[in-house]
Symmetry: C2
Amino acid sequence: MGGDSAPKMVVEGIAFALTRYKNIHFILYGDEVQLEHHIAESGLKNAPISIVHAPEVITNDMKPSAALRNAKSSSMRRAIEAVKEGKADAVVSAGNTGAYMALSKILLGTLKGIARPAIATHMPTLSGYSVMLDLGANIECSEEHLVQFALMGEMFARDVLNIANPSVALLNIGAEALKGHSEVKAAHQILANSNMLSNFKGFVEGDDIMTGAVDVIVTDGFTGNVALKTIEGTVRFFKQMLEKTFKSSWRSKLGYLFVHRDFSRFRDKIDHRRHNGAPFLGVNGVAVKSHGGTDALGYSYAIGVAADMVERKLNEHISQELNKWYASNNIELPLKVIHGDG
Amino acid sequence: MGGDSAPKMVVEGIAFALTRYKNIHFILYGDEVQLEHHIAESGLKNAPISIVHAPEVITNDMKPSAALRNAKSSSMRRAIEAVKEGKADAVVSAGNTGAYMALSKILLGTLKGIARPAIATHMPTLSGYSVMLDLGANIECSEEHLVQFALMGEMFARDVLNIANPSVALLNIGAEALKGHSEVKAAHQILANSNMLSNFKGFVEGDDIMTGAVDVIVTDGFTGNVALKTIEGTVRFFKQMLEKTFKSSWRSKLGYLFVHRDFSRFRDKIDHRRHNGAPFLGVNGVAVKSHGGTDALGYSYAIGVAADMVERKLNEHISQELNKWYASNNIELPLKVIHGDG
């Protein structure tokens, strides 16, 4: 029920997803009447979809703490519980991010060895695609958190983006080891002096994100959120300036007729719907956040991220790598391991 | 002597600047032979330029601490000393940023009431121009620092960018007061509950920077540096993608012939040379940093920022406003005031 155009967009997103993923069975938590209506309208009567009536909605303005205390039978909570109870392999929601992360953390717990889950995204760059995390789940991050994010990002890039031997770097304000705050410097030291990552590249700066200098960019949730939204704002700036430029004279209007075919390919590359689906990495279960303002096509990509995470067994791989590393690690600073359901 | 193409670019930048600013007298600190050669080559023999032979250079890889201890007769240090001694009204350098800021702070001190200087920039947005600070002088900032940055940014926007009643906001990861780290929330509280700024807009997010939601964006030096460089990287991404798109078929190549005139106007708008010149706000004197990789045109804009700051008496206005506010402030949290030469 979460998202600007839900639940219509969710049901139509399933229609898109079913063209690419044949083996998914969908359980929809939400208002039964609305869901059945949209299923019929989308021609999905015979599709592998079950409905669980859960009309209570966690609104976007609800604080995570309130969502935890109340909203016990909300569609979001019940969908996450389905993963906890093994009824579903993954949950996808376009609802309230803070509540979704808080509920996922509490209900599913974290993977063994992971202290804090992180929100990740993938995006187009000059050289392909990059992963960035954390995007806002953790305002302040210790070096242990950053190190764990680095491993999770590496595994996501490998398993879901199919990047062999992904390069990983910490986001900082200079390439030299002496710059930055203490946590990022300490994380650098751990990663540089251990064999956790096979392709650790040290530090990158903000201008390396979109140029694709590395495959995985690791940062705290405050910086990551600002960086991601700054990219979004700059993309919007360019889109509007381009539109204005193409309309600014009869010459440019004419020119647009010649270039529009190639420009639509470019537009596809930066179409945020095609990179929709932010996984909550480190949660003991697969939970993917769809952008609230996306449409059916965008939602289908979030479903795809969840499906790929399940099929490629991302969480198993993260646990395996982490435990292998803990067992064999020869670093001085021991990582604090908080495991449990909160 | 600082910058990739110095001192040639500096001298040629003066030639550009002299076409717009008739009343500047330039004192060049650097290698006399080189400077005289470039002055002759640029046809500036009769221009208002004096030379002080100071061939020692602070290199880009020199740590600020080393630049402070050694390099006593470097061109950068001597140029800053000229401001301290009243021989010059402003200093402009394209050299080592860390050393330049450290030397400026030590030699010139800070304005009364300002604890820490900040590096600011101005950049094009959808709705005009915005100021952002700090860009890296202060990795971690207290609420007092952020509040002082806010006032300095407001005054810069008013005096130098000619924006009447500039709107000011704190960069955060959500528009709600409950989000963000403690310093940004505390700064918000101070600014929202005082009359320091006449047009305080609360929080903005990363995507508000380039869309021009406010005139002044205030943040800590880590976040500001990442945000600015992220914009630079995204601009580079777009430039390269556009170039590739216009060359991707004969159709687009043909179309480019029609649109190139309007696109060159767009290119001018985002030409970083035209926004070159990052002032060290809060320093007791005018010090402006030019991008190290800029050319003569870019350098002339940095000179322009310095000239405007002097002419509009920016530092006087900052001091006046700050003292007025201290005198009349009715806020609970008193601002810590560190004044002096370090």
